[in-house]
């Protein structure tokens, strides 16, 4: 009897892992066979990044129960710190996968630091302050990176903030062998794209392992307890601020790693890419996939990233159909009759399930 829950949650986790692995192998196979068209091949790495973003945001929104509207901000921090790392280590670490890994770790660390800076003051408060502050954070980061000038030469890194608009990349006084990595509003240009689909797959798997194992450990239980009832959580000795911060910073760090991979997938990237719309897009993945439902996030992120591309044939009606699909999915998943139907198809779904 007691083994049942453990089995069921482990089984759900197992199916999630298995699904991702199988999907990866199929896509690899199809790509090698040349069946996939160019636009879909180009989408593979971004899909992985968005899956990772959705899973990590689910940790904040679904598991912790705090609304974050600036997840793209953490992605942005990760992306640009990752690009800087990868570009400046080009000669030091010639082996690309290692350089990519280092860049992603650095991206994660910088995003985590940003997460701590945002989280420490805000997570002490009760209410929707986190949503407001993360919203502002996303915009601030976007504007800051828009002013950022970074170059690298034999003397090391050169950085400047072009707040007045009077500076340009020449003010960094780079040596002739130097390269400009980030050029203010032009963003990062001339980035060597070292991201690969395999790296994306590894990122998704790592994100899954971290989030799923975290949720099933004492840390995750404490976080969920805070979500369910803060006062009761305090009354059983849980340090609310600490666990909120752990969940939020972990989520930010994972977004940073995803951002680094995303950044290194494009030779040119502007800070405006990570605007409010991107944050909302990721939030849509999470809400549509189900709050606290990790595999739901994976599927929602995949489908909703492919969908706009797949609908290109409909030209002007593309976004209209996209919206209709969103509404239909919402209706289907929130419909009690549809749920009852699902319940009949999948027998014996008792109340013991905590998240799917």
């Amino acid at each position: 009897m007691k083994k049942l829950t453990i089995k069921r949650t482990t089984r759900t986790d197992f199916i999630t892992y298995l699904g991702v692995i199988v999907a990866f192998l199929i896509m690899m196979f199809l790509r090698d066979q040349g069946v996939l068209n160019r636009s879909l091949t180009g989408q593979l790495v971004p899909i992985c990044c968005y899956i990772s973003m959705a899973i990590s945001l689910n940790l904040t929104v679904g598991i912790l129960g705090e609304l974050s509207l600036g997840h793209a901000g953490f992605m942005s921090v990760g992306a640009f710190s990752g690009i800087i790392t990868a570009m400046s280590l080009q000669s030091t670490i010639p082996y690309t996968p290692l350089r990519l890994a280092v860049a992603m770790v650095v991206g994660a660390i910088f995003a985590a630091i940003a997460g701590i800076i945002v989280g420490v003051p805000v997570l002490r408060l009760r209410g929707d302050y986190l949503a407001i502050v993360t919203l502002a954070f996303g915009e601030i980061i976007k504007d800051l990176i828009n002013c950022l000038l970074v170059g690298y030469d034999s003397n090391g890194l050169h950085m400047a903030l072009n707040l007045t608009g009077s500076k340009s990349i020449t003010d960094l006084n780079l040596q002739p062998d130097g390269i400009a990595i980030i050029k203010g509003a032009q963003g990062a240009t001339g980035t060597t794209t070292i991201a690969s689909f395999t790296a994306g797959f590894v990122l998704v798997m790592i994100t899954l392992v971290i989030v799923l194992n975290l949720v099933r450990s004492r840390t995750g239980r404490a976080v969920m307890a805070i979500r369910d009832n803060r006062i009761a959580a305090e009354s059983v000795g849980i340090n609310v601020t600490k666990y909120k911060l752990i969940a939020f910073v972990t989520s930010a760090a994972l977004a940073g790693a995803a951002g680094a991979l995303y950044g290194l997938n494009f030779s040119s990237l502007q800070a405006t890419k990570f605007n409010f719309n991107t944050s909302i897009l990721v939030l849509v993945f999470v809400v549509l996939g189900g709050l606290g439902n990790i595999w739901g996030s994976v599927i929602a992120a995949t489908v909703l990233t492919i969908l706009p591309e797949a609908l290109r044939g409909f030209d002007d009606y593309r976004m209209l159909i996209y919206a209709i699909v969103l509404i239909l999915v919402m209706l289907a998943t929130n419909n009690s009759q549809a749920k009852a139907l699902l319940g009949r198809i999948i027998p014996k779904r008792k109340g013991a399930e905590t998240n799917g």
């Binding site: 007691k2 194992n213 305090e234 009354s235 752990i246 013991a352 905590t354």
Partner: protein, 282 residues
């Protein structure tokens, strides 16, 4: 009528408090001195003095709005007291947070049930053992041996605690889906899981039928005997209070109006007046 429970004889101790005879030689688990809180100008509780023995079952009664739950909130630091001191096992709890007070040894239940309703019954209990578990977040993520070891111990202990109320078969159910009585019992188990030395029960019998209440009374005594802890309960069910409480404290308008054994309280004119009103003169 539920069966009479054995209780110690109450004797006065030097601090002018009354504690059970068996606890006289030991230091009290809880001592409140001139405890009080003001909200603006309103004195919700004032000059609350109370001593509770190591293994005493104490009752806190009073009419609605007397400030009983406020006392619990002061003890658990949901509110910071504006006056007086709380000594828990001789230690001043001044400046502690709710979580710290819990780790120091006070666990409580709530008048309106506060379970982690989206988590399973088992998780509700293991989450309360969080501060006793030591494995780090990384051992949790990488599933190091310490994770498996501590999780197994926690699960075993949780099932053991569930067996107090014969609830092992509900371990996998979602806490929010349990029937009302089972939710109340789960809250008590969750509080016990934090390893308290003082258990505060806020209306544990509310909404229970007489047979459930009788069972609850037995279980409260059983909990006290097994864990050797002090229990303090707020209750309106006088049958329960008079049967299992050794010392009773009566609160009215935030002030202690009487303290003593159940027999003394039952015949105390001030208490009768507080509950039933004054007899008309003439």
């Amino acid at each position: 009528m539920a069966k009479q429970f054995q209780r110690g004889k109450m004797v006065p101790v030097p601090s002018r408090a009354i504690v059970p005879e068996r606890d006289v030689d030991k230091s009290p688990i809880l001592e409140c001195r001139y405890l009080g809180i003001e909200f603006g100008g309103l004195k919700a509780v004032s000059d609350f003095n109370l001593t509770i023995g190591r293994t005493e079952i104490a009752g806190l009664i009073g009419p609605n709005g007397a400030g009983k739950t406020t006392v619990f909130n002061l003890l658990t630091k949901v509110y910071q007291p504006t006056h007086g001191t709380i000594l828990l096992d001789g230690r001043d709890t001044h400046g502690m947070t709710t979580a710290q007070v819990n780790r120091a040894g006070i666990a409580r239940t709530f008048q309106n049930i506060r379970l982690f309703s989206n988590m399973s019954v088992l998780e509700n209990i293991t989450v309360a053992m969080n501060s006793q578990m030591k494995y780090s977040m990384l051992s949790g993520i990488f599933r190091l041996p310490s994770f498996w070891k501590e999780e197994r111990v926690a699960k075993e202990r949780a099932l053991e605690l569930l067996s107090i109320f014969d609830m092992q078969h509900l371990a996998d159910h979602k806490a929010g889906s349990l029937p009302y009585g089972a939710q109340r019992r789960l809250e008590i188990i969750r509080a016990l899981a934090t390893n308290p030395s003082l258990l505060l029960l806020d209306e544990p019998a509310a909404g229970m039928n007489p047979s459930e209440t009788a069972e609850l009374m037995e279980n409260i005594v059983k909990i006290r005997d097994t864990f050797q802890i002090a229990v303090m309960l707020i209750e309106h069910d006088m049958n329960l209070v008079m049967n299992i409480c050794e010392g009773i404290c009566v609160l009215n308008f935030g002030q202690v109006i009487a303290k003593g054994t159940p027999e003394e309280i039952q015949s105390n004119p001030t208490v009768i007046e507080a509950y039933l009103g004054k007899k008309k003169e003439g």
